[in-house]
Each structure stands twice: as C-alpha cells, then as structure tokens.
Amino acid sequence: MSTAAVTDKRHSTLRAASLPRWTPWVIAAGSLVLGIGISMAAGLDSQVQWGLIAAVLFVLGTFGVAARVEGRRQAKDRVATSLVWVAFLLAVVPLVSLIWVTVVRGVKVLDVYFLTHSMGVVADTEPGGGIYHAIIGSLEQVGLATLIGAPIGVLTAIYLVEYGRGRLAKAVTFFVDVMTGIPSIVAGLFILSLMLIFEMQPFGFAGSLALAILMMPVVVRSTEEMLKLVPNELREASLALGVPKWRTILKVVLPTSVGGITTGIMLAVARIAGETAPVLLLVFGNPFINNNPFEGAQASLPLYIYQQFANSAGSGAAFDRAWAASLTLIAFVMILNLVARGIARWKAPKTGR
C-alpha cells in the first residue's frame, strides 16, 4: 500500500482530490439510462438484461471516473463499494419480486370465503373453493409435531448442557448435527416405510411425526445455545442453598432462558410449517375438511399450494388459489417470526454477548 501512497500525484495538498458525494448517484443514473438505451437499441426485451448491462456499466464507470480523479487505491475502494451495492440490489430484486408477486396475485381471491371454505367438490381447474381444510390440516400437523418435537428437543438440550458428559453426550451432539442436515424428504420416506410395515392409511399425524423429526435438532441447537448463556453463578447459588439440581434447572435455569428457548421453538415451527416434501408423501391431501389428524387423509397448506400448481393445467383460477395460499402461509410464518423476535427482544438475557 505504501507504494500506492507514493505514486499518488496530488501530494501538494494535505487531502487528495476526491469526487463530490453525489458522484455515485450520477454514475448510477447515467449507467441505468445508458443500459436501457443500449438494450432498446439492441432490441433486448428482458428487464433482466437491462439491469445486468446497467450494473456492469455502473461498476466500470465508477472505476474509470475514480481512477482518473482519485488514483488507483481510491478507485479500487469505489469499485468495491459499487460492487457491494450492485450485489445488494441484484439480490433484492428477486426477493422483492417474490414478495410483491405473492401479495399482488395472492390478494385476488383471498377473502373470508376463501379462508372459511374447503375445496370440497370444486374441480382444480374451476374457480371457487378455499383453503380452510388446508389451514386446519397444517395447524393440527404442525401443532402435534411441536408437542412432540419441542419437549424432546428442550430436554435433550438440558441433558447436553446440564448433565451431559462422556461418550453418550458426544454421540448425541454429533447426531444432532447430522440430523440438522437430513433432507426433509428422507424424513418423510422413513415415516412412510413404518406406515407401510404396519399397513396404515395416510393420516395427518404421520406428517406430524416426520415434521417432529425435522424440528428436534433445530430446537436442540437453539435451546443449547440459550442454556449456555445462563451464567453459572445462578446455578451455583441455587445449588449452594441446597436446592436439588432438577429444581434448580426448572426454577432457575429454564426461567432465565425461557425467552430464547421460545424464540428457538417458534423459529423451528415456522420452518416446519412450510415443509412440503414429507407431507406430500404422508398425508395424501384431501379437498374436504378433516378435523381428525389421527384418521383419514388431511390436507396441508404447502401441499395444497403444490397440488394447485401441479393440477392446474394452466388454469388461472388454480394459480390464483396457489398464490393466495402462499400469501396465507407466508403471513403465518412471518407472524411467527415476528412474535419470536419480539419475545427474544423482550426477554433477552442481560448477560453474555
């Protein structure tokens, strides 16, 4: 870097010449106009190409201008800055498009009727129908999965942090990590094989079991982190007062970390609520309302979206329903997320990091 400083020609003044603050904006606007111009001239009709051309022009333009006025080091810095901005915009475009399209196309058929009626006898290519049956299915399956997965996950984390030493704990830690990486479809295949062995019909609870398998490792990991944040002084104080260890855990350790644990569980719930693959294999799907998760085929929101997409035969009505169901699902997941974050902030441990 020192050589760069020496070759800098403007040593007459203390501050090197620098571009005015508005330069990046001007270059950006210029390259955007130029990009669209070139694309128009070349007859390109895709906005993707316009954007890419403009982005390239922006980076090159920034480098050219900065190299001239400010020298190479500053130019490199400017290029890095503009690359970061471009990358950010590049990534934001599809993500914004995803949300935008889902909202705009989802609100078309999303109304009270849609939320309170099932598909019933409406054919997939016809307009009408709703997602009530899928909402019920999803709530019950995810709820049951949480009832199974969350306690096991939390207890395992307690074991690992509070008791676990030696080989068993090491094995559990390792396999929790491995479990995190299980593709969701493999969990589905596993439960399905059990069902085939016991000759069972598809039912909602089977989906819950697969979802619970996917949920456990996530809960274990997040709960572990939270329990580790509880300062040891609290435990020691409690133990020193003669409180049994289990009461110490229940009355001191868990309450201290309950916010973080809840957050972790809710994020895990949000994650499994959107899982399609295992549900696809296990609950069969059902256009009618089935309130009983232990018997008979059930629907679920992600499965419903997939079926509406796959069975649409290109019919607009089916796509509208798929988007509206997506919007409902995203809203559900987002609300869970927001609540989880709210809890995390509200009960954030005062110690640690």
């Binding site: 895709s46 800055t81 993500l95 995803l98 396999f175 479990m179 260890k245 229940l250 997409f309």
Partner: protein, 334 residues
C-alpha cells in the same frame, strides 16, 4: 438461527465440579433428580434411536433394491423400476445434484458475502437494520413458495438471459441453447442461489460483526481505505465463518425438493449445456417418481435417498470441522 455457528465446546461457565459430575453420573439420590435426569437422558437417547432407525432402515431397504438392480447402481443413466428386469442408477442424479448446487454456490456465496458486508460495513446506518431484518425474514419463506415463484415468474424471465448467454458464450458448449423452455439446471441453480442467499448472508453477517473493532480501527488509523480495511481485517477474520455458512447453504441446496421439482424439466440423461432442459436431482427425483412407484420402486428411491443422506452428512461434517477450528481461532482473539 443466526447463532448456530457458535461453538459446541461448552463454555467454562457450565463446567461442573468433580463432585457434582460424580453425583450426576451416579444418578442423583433424590427421586426428583433421578426422574429428571432419566427424562432428559431418555430424550437424548431417543434422538440417537431415531437416527439409528433412519440409517438402518434406509440401508436395509436400499440393499434390498440394489441387490435386484439389473444394472450398475452408480453408473446407469436410467430409472426404470416398474418392469420385470428393473434398471436404475444414480449417475444422472449425482451429476444434477452437484451441478445445480455448484451453480447455486457460485452465485450465492459472493453475493451473500457482499450483502453481509453491505449490512455491516457499507450501508447507511438507517438502512442496515431494516435490510438485515428483511433478509432474516426471507430465510423463513417456505421452499414451495420459492418453487411457485420460480415456475411462474422466474422461468419466463430467463428466456432473454438464456438467449444472451447463447449469443455470447454459446461456443463454449456449456451455454449453448436449443431454445427450449428455460426449465434447465441453470434456472434451478439460480433459484437455489436465491433460496440459500438469506441463510449464508445471516451467518456471514454475524461473523463480520464479531471482527474485533481494534483490527479495523488500526487499519483505518494507518490510512487504509474502506476496501482495504475489509480486505485486510474483515475477510481474513471471517473466512472460516463464511466457509461454514456456505456449507450450511450447500446442505440446503443439496436436499431441496419442491423448488427443483416445480422448475426443472426432468429427464434421465446428462445435458452438456446448462441451458438445455434435462437432468435431475436426488430429492426432485424422489418427489416426482414417488407417487408412481410400486413397492420395489420405492425401495429404489430410498436407495437414492440414502446416497443423498450420506452426501449431506459429509457436507455437514465438513462444516462442523471448520466451525470447530474457527472456535479455537476466535477464542484466541477474545
């Protein structure tokens, strides 16, 4: 969970005394303690049992299927299980899974690192909070929604880009295009990149945040530009964190099912060009062949699922090793 990169090594805080350890090991004297220990240890053991059951069962069914395979399981370009002499092999699936994941990584990792840098070092302060927040939320968008968006919005938009790639890079063969609908590996890779972007960004951001302030200030005091600060102090510190974040993303890309199943036009051959439709991935193949498969066909799919399981296991194991090493590194800095 942004914090999942942190160490597995229990912090000194929870290290119990020897006496305590012995008591815990012996099983506590009080019934409450015994019950509680039993419950929590039982849960841990249950997890192990589930894992073992999955592994054992998958292997068992896979062996059943592979032993009846009339072709080489590893090298066959065919998946035909519903006939008297079943022939199936995973060559196409291995290729497709790796190619789509590699494309996703090549696109997602640099962009994700850039966004993480943007949030921690470049964005105007008022902007960085909300941006981080939005990216966080996007990590939670269900994959089926990405799939729906990919099939109905992304695919039609790829036509222009594909034509362009064909015009300029068609001579390489990798980017030649026969003007089929753009439901190809490249589209899948791009969609996967978009899906794993938030995950990699979140983890990288946490790592970049932990860069010791002193390192950066020292560089700044020496007159370094912002880029030089990033290059000399932020990136080296965050490197292993970024690698493990990428591994997490890779794990998700490898096992992604619905988004691939909705976007790809599957076939059992390998396309030299990334732009022509065809190919398949493990998870997509299971999802799309499953409903038509008879019991033997399901065993064959389970066999492919086992291979996917092993691959993801290796990737996660690698990520874990890297994280463990990073823990030592950052521990020295603390």
């Amino acid at each position: 969970m942004d914090i999942s990169t942190t160490t597995d090594v229990p912090p000194p805080a929870s290290q119990p005394t020897i006496a305590e350890r012995k008591r815990a090991a012996r099983g506590a004297t009080r019934p409450g303690d015994r019950i509680f220990l039993g419950l929590s240890r039982g849960s841990g053991i249950l997890l192990l049992v589930i894992m073992a059951a999955i592994a054992v069962f998958l292997t068992y069914r896979a062996v059943l299927a592979i032993s009846k395979d009339h072709a080489n399981f590893l090298t066959t370009f065919e998946w035909n299980t519903n006939v008297l002499e079943p022939k199936f092999g995973i060559a196409v699936l291995v290729f497709g899974t790796i190619v789509s994941s590699v494309i996703a990584m090549v696109i997602a990792v640099p962009v994700a690192v850039a966004i993480a840098l943007f949030i921690t070092h470049y964005a105007p302060r008022r902007m960085s909070g909300p941006v981080a927040y939005v990216i966080d939320l996007l990590a939670a968008v269900p994959s089926i929604v990405y799939g729906l968006w990919g099939a109905l919005v992304l695919v039609p938009h790829m036509n222009g880009l594909f034509g362009w790639l064909n015009d300029f890079f068609g001579w390489t063969g990798v980017f030649s295009w026969d003007e089929g609908a753009p439901r190809s590996m490249l589209t899948v890779g791009i969609l996967l990149a978009i899906m794993i972007l938030p995950i990699i960004t979140n983890v990288s951001r946490e790592v970049f945040r932990q860069v010791p302030q002193m390192h950066e200030e020292a560089a700044l005091a020496l007159g370094a530009t912002r880029w030089e600060v990033v290059r000399m102090s932020v990136l080296p510190f965050g490197r292993s964190g970024v690698i493990s974040a990428s591994m997490l993303g890779l794990g998700r890309a490898l096992g992604e099912t619905m988004a691939v199943a909705t976007v790809l036009s599957p076939s059992f051959d390998i396309q030299a060009s990334l732009l022509n439709p065809g190919g398949g991935t493990f998870a997509q193949n299971i999802a799309s062949k499953f409903s038509e498969a008879n019991e033997f066909g399901r065993d064959a799919l389970i066999a492919s699922g086992l291979v996917l399981f092993v691959i993801t296991l290796l990737v996660n194991g690698a990520a874990r090793l890297i994280i463990a090493r990073r823990a030592e590194y950052s521990g020295a800095n603390a």
